[in-house]
C-alpha cells in the first residue's frame, strides 16, 4: 500500500506522519472511521479543498475504506510537542474547556467524546493530540464559518460556533502543547458521561 499511496504521503509525510507545516495533518494511527468520514466528506463537498477533491474524484467507496484502514493501521511514534505559549491564564482556560467544558456557554468537555486521554474513541472520533496549533485553529475556524462540515447532525459545528476566537486560541494552545501518550491509539469506548453532561448526537459517529 505504501507504493499505492505516494499521492497521499507526498503532502502528509512519509507513512502519513504529517506534513512539514501545520496544514497537512497526520493520517497514521487515526481511527479508521474518522479517516473514512473525512474522505467521504471531501468527495461529497462537506469539506472543500480542491486538491484533495480532485485526487479523490476517481476513487470508489471500497478504496476509500481501504485507504482509511491502511493509514489507521500505521502505528508511528509522535514527535515531541512544539513549545507552548507561556500565558498561564490562556492555558488554564484551554485545560478547563478540555476537561470540564463551559456549561454556561453549552460547551461540552472535549474529553466527553474524544476520550479521557484525548486519543479519540473508536471507530470515528479522532484524537486531539499531536496536532499542530495552526491546524487546530484552521479546523475550529472552519467549523465556525461552515468551511468544514460533517454528516448531520453536525455536532462539532454546533460546538465550534459557541467557541469565541479567544477560546479557540486557548484550546489550540493547550492541546498542541501536550505530549502524546505512549498508548496513542483511540479508546474502544467513550468515557462514562460526567454528572450533568448531556449526550451529544453526531452524524459522523452514531452512537
Amino acid at each position: 500500500m505504501a507504493q499505492r499511496t505516494l499521492a497521499c504521503t507526498g503532502c502528509h509525510g512519509p507513512q502519513g506522519r504529517s506534513g512539514p507545516d501545520g496544514y497537512y495533518p497526520r493520517l497514521a494511527g487515526k481511527p479508521a472511521g474518522y479517516l473514512y468520514n473525512q474522505l467521504v466528506n471531501l468527495q461529497q463537498g462537506r469539506r472543500t479543498y480542491p486538491l484533495m477533491q480532485s485526487l479523490l474524484a476517481p476513487l470508489d467507496d471500497a478504496y476509500l475504506r481501504t485507504l482509511a484502514d491502511y493509514f489507521a493501521g500505521l502505528q508511528i511514534p509522535y514527535p515531541p510537542p512544539a513549545p507552548q505559549p507561556t500565558n498561564k491564564a490562556l492555558l488554564a482556560r484551554g485545560l478547563q474547556l478540555v476537561r470540564q467544558g463551559d456549561p454556561a456557554l453549552q460547551i461540552p468537555a472535549c474529553v466527553q467524546c474524544h476520550g479521557s486521554a484525548l486519543t479519540g474513541t473508536q471507530p470515528s472520533v479522532p484524537g486531539l493530540l499531536g496536532l499542530p496549533r495552526d491546524y487546530l485553529n484552521a479546523q475550529l475556524g472552519g467549523w465556525k464559518n461552515g468551511q468544514r462540515q460533517a454528516q448531520a447532525p453536525d455536532c462539532m459545528a454546533d460546538i465550534a460556533k459557541r467557541l469565541s476566537d479567544a477560546d479557540v486560541h486557548a484550546l489550540s494552545s493547550w492541546l498542541s502543547g501536550q505530549t502524546v501518550p505512549q498508548v496513542s491509539h483511540a479508546a474502544t469506548h467513550k468515557p462514562p458521561l460526567a454528572p450533568g453532561a448531556k449526550e451529544i448526537r453526531c452524524g459522523s459517529a452514531p452512537a
Binding site: R4, L6, A7, L55, P58, L59, D60, A62
Partner: protein, 446 residues
C-alpha cells in the same frame, strides 16, 4: 438606380434572414416533432429484463453520475455542469410527479433523447448531450425509461440554471439547434471498413457516438459551444480545469491502435502502461468499467478503425520536424539542466532514471503519449494536481501520483516537463512557464 438595387437586395436579404430565423425558431423544431410523433408507441408495463437492460445502459452512458448531486439522492439531479456560458444543474429523473419525470410519458422521454425537447416542445440545454443521444434506438430509450421508472421518486425541486444572457433562452437554444443539430435519421452512413468485424464496428459506433457520448468532450467546440460534424472526435479542451480530451482520430494522441489495451483501458482504467486521468478517470469509474466484454470490444474495434487519419499523420510529422530544431536548441539551455535536476529529485524514484517507469505500477515517461502531445495541458495538470487511476472492478487499488502544485513553481514545472519531453528519445517541443500558468490559472486566460 444603384441605390434602389442595393435597397432591394438589402430588403431581400432581410426577408430571407427573417424567414431563416422563423424557420429556425419554429419550423425546424415543429417539423422534427411531427416526425417523432409518427414513431410513438403504446406504453407497456416494463419487464424485469428491460429494467436490467436500462440499468446497464444508464451506467454505461453515465446518466447516474451527472443526474445525481454530490451526496444527493440517486438520479434526483442537481449536479452543477459548468459551461463557458454559465452553470446548468442536471434535472431530476426520478418519477416524482412535481419535480421529476412523473408526468412524462414514454414518448416524452424518447422525444427528449431523440430531439432534445421537453413534453411541451421546450428546447432542452445541449449540456444534456441529446446531440449524441439522438442516435439511441427506440428500444434502448424504452429500456432506459423502464429503469428510471423503477427508481424511487425523490421530490428534489429543480435548481435554476445560472446562464449569461441570452444563452439559455428558448430563442438562443432555437438558433443553436438550427445551426448545430439535426436529429439522427435513418442511417445512410458509412459501412464498416473492409477487414473489420462489421457487427462489432457498428455496435462500437453506436456506443461511441451515441450512448457513450464520447465526442461531446473529444471534439473542439466553436465560440458558441457547437460541434461541427467534420471535426467530431478530433479532440477538445474541457471547460473548467483545462483538461484536453485527445483526438480519437490520431493514434499519437488517443493511443487507440491496440484494441486489447483500449478495451482494458475502458473496463479497468489502465492498459498498456497508461491510466485514465482527470475527467476520463471519472468516466471510467462511473461508466465504462461496467461495459460488458462484447461492448467494450466493440468500442475498441470502432475506435481503432478511426486512426490514423491522413490529416493526423501529416500533422504529427510536420510537428516532429519543427520539434527536432527546437529540441536541439533547448537541450543546451541551462533550463534543461535545471529540469534534469528537478526530475532526479522529484520524479526519478517512481518514473525511473531513464523514464522507464515500473511495469504495472508507475507509468513510463519515455514514449508517453500524454506527456508528448502538442497540447501539453494534461501533462501540466498531472504535475500540478497529481492523480489516481480510477478504482474499478479490474483495478480495485489504483496507484496515485502526488500533486506538485505547492512544491514546484510554474517555471520549475515548465523546466521538468521540457526536460522529460526531450529526454530518452522523446521528441516534443519545450513547454513555457506561460503555458503552465495558463493551465494553473485558467480563469486568467479570458
Amino acid at each position: 438606380m444603384r441605390r434602389s438595387t442595393l435597397r432591394a437586395t438589402g430588403l431581400a436579404l432581410l426577408v430571407a434572414l427573417a424567414g431563416a430565423l422563423l424557420w429556425a425558431l419554429w419550423g425546424f423544431d415543429a417539423y422534427y416533432r411531427q416526425e417523432s410523433v409518427s414513431s410513438r408507441v403504446q406504453s407497456q408495463a416494463p419487464s424485469s429484463a428491460q429494467v436490467a437492460r436500462g440499468q446497464y445502459l444508464a451506467r454505461v452512458g453515465n446518466c447516474v453520475f451527472c443526474h445525481t448531486a454530490p451526496a444527493g439522492a440517486m438520479l434526483a439531479g442537481g449536479r452543477a455542469i459548468q459551461t463557458p456560458f454559465g452553470t446548468v444543474y442536471t434535472s431530476n429523473l426520478t418519477r416524482d410527479p412535481a419535480h421529476g419525470l412523473g408526468r412524462w410519458t414514454q414518448d416524452d422521454f424518447w422525444q427528449a433523447l431523440h430531439l432534445g425537447m421537453g413534453p411541451q416542445g421546450q428546447r432542452l440545454s445541449p449540456a444534456f448531450p441529446y446531440t449524441s443521444y439522438s442516435r439511441l434506438t427506440r428500444a434502448d430509450a424504452d429500456a432506459l425509461w423502464a429503469f428510471l421508472q423503477s427508481v424511487p421518486a425523490v421530490p428534489r425541486p429543480k435548481t435554476e440554471a445560472n446562464m449569461v444572457w441570452p444563452f439559455g433562452t428558448q430563442t438562443a437554444l432555437g438558433l443553436w439547434r438550427a445551426m448545430y443539430f439535426r436529429p439522427f435519421q435513418n442511417p445512410h452512413e458509412d459501412a464498416a471498413p473492409a477487414g473489420v468485424d462489421a457487427v462489432a464496428w457498428t455496435r462500437g459506433r453506436y456506443l461511441v457516438e451515441g450512448l457513450g457520448h464520447c465526442q461531446e468532450c473529444h471534439s473542439p467546440r466553436d465560440a458558441l459551444g457547437g460541434l461541427r460534424n467534420a471535426s467530431r472526435g478530433t479532440g477538445g479542451v474541457l471547460p473548467g480545469l483545462p483538461w484536453y480530451a485527445p483526438s480519437l482520430r490520431d493514434a499519437a494522441q488517443a493511443g487507440t491502435t491496440d484494441s486489447q489495451a483500449l478495451q482494458s483501458f475502458l473496463q479497468t482504467g489502465v492498459g498498456a502502461g497508461r491510466f485514465a486521468a482527470g475527467p476520463m478517470a471519472e468516466v471510467v469509474l462511473h461508466g465504462t468499467q461496467y461495459l460488458n466484454d462484447q461492448d467494450a470490444k466493440a468500442m475498441a474495434v470502432y475506435l481503432q478503425s478511426q486512426v490514423p487519419t491522413k490529416a493526423g499523420v501529416a500533422k504529427t510529422h510536420a510537428d516532429s520536424n519543427a520539434n527536432t530544431f527546437q529540441i536541439a536548441n533547448a537541450n543546451q539551455s541551462p533550463a534543461h539542466t535545471q529540469g534534469a535536476d528537478i526530475y532526479k529529485k522529484q520524479c526519478a524514484d517512481c518514473h525511473g532514471d531513464t523514464g522507464q517507469g515500473r511495469a504495472g505500477v508507475y507509468p513510463a515517461l519515455a514514449g508517453n503519449r500524454a506527456l508528448l502531445m502538442d497540447k501539453a495541458n494534461n501533462a501540466v495538470l498531472s504535475v500540478l494536481y497529481g492523480g489516481f487511476a480510477p478504482s474499478t472492478q479490474g483495478n480495485a487499488r489504483p496507484f496515485g501520483m502526488p500533486p506538485f502544485m505547492l512544491e514546484l513553481s510554474n517555471a520549475q514545472i515548465a523546466q521538468v516537463l521540457s526536460y522529460t519531453r526531450s529526454a530518452w528519445g522523446n521528441q516534443a517541443a519545450p513547454i513555457s512557464e506561460l503555458q503552465v500558468q495558463a493551465v494553473r490559472e485558467p480563469q486568467q486566460r479570458r
